[in-house]
Symmetry: C2
Subunit: 199 residues, 2 copies
Amino acid sequence: MSFSPLINELITALKCLPGVGAKSAQRMAFALLERNRDGAMTLSKVLHDAMEHVSHCEHCRTFTEARLCKICENPMRSETGQLCIVESPQDVLAVEQTSEYKGKYFVLMGHLSPIDGIGPAEIGLTELVQLLDRESIQEVILATNPTVEGEATAHYIGQICREKQIKATRIAHGVPVGGELEYIDGNTISHAFAGRRPV
Amino acid sequence: MSFSPLINELITALKCLPGVGAKSAQRMAFALLERNRDGAMTLSKVLHDAMEHVSHCEHCRTFTEARLCKICENPMRSETGQLCIVESPQDVLAVEQTSEYKGKYFVLMGHLSPIDGIGPAEIGLTELVQLLDRESIQEVILATNPTVEGEATAHYIGQICREKQIKATRIAHGVPVGGELEYIDGNTISHAFAGRRPV
């Protein structure tokens, strides 16, 4: 025995959300039915609108429902001549939170991963090359994640920049601020020592 | 800075789900946008349909999109003359999983909780009294949760049954099967001793 067909359908549909299994989906379905039908109706509408209208920014490839995202639209952002390469839209938000970087972004929407069939074309490097040819970029800041794939992606883009004689820099790896040395892994400490600077 | 307006709206709407905070909502929004737009479209449609069509069974008050739920529709279920009172539709599923109970259900959709303004009318006791008058019920099985509110609710319904001279029973409280005595709380063990039976 199970619930009525429509409730079962709802529970199955909720399982498409990441981190939501059978039990959580059931709890969510009943919570919405019992206490928050208005919220569920809003969610239904916004989900539909977002999936239909959100696409990629024509310049930087981040998610937006407009032709250009807010950052690419802002002419002040081109003045520094800097271009920060990140893996995801969430990474743009993380960098923006510092309020220190004033340049533009290019969002790869992933990283090189040949084993999953993700090559240079899939992460928009064709568009990146066009962008580097078209705009006057003085510095490319490689802010991909410090993982094996992120490093490989940074290395690959670094080579493209070298061919075009554009300065490419990689963000520093080291001990995070507020971290305690004894809990930091050896690899990070090696990076921190290799990247030491005179005080 | 934040994401584009529609993406922000989606993140806010996802927070209506129980157990989903700002960070999970953001993760869900991007996972759907990046990898599962079809799933999200289905979810949007099913959410809308469920909120619009799912209502309460006219007999037992459980959630269903039909006039009567599958159990109330089944004439075999009236034969035993038993009526099991539970707090929620999920409790019906839990009892059904045993495949031992063959009677009907009445779902309170909550429990008595005067402090939250939930009195007898809110948990459908008016309908329950009508049902007890209308149908030939031989036994009411009180399967509300063993919490303070659940016990109070069971006690209240027990009194109604006594007035109508219908036999009312309460499910046994004791040590769960597979449990280990040393990890069981004292209250449960007291119940287990009080409810001991000759072997």
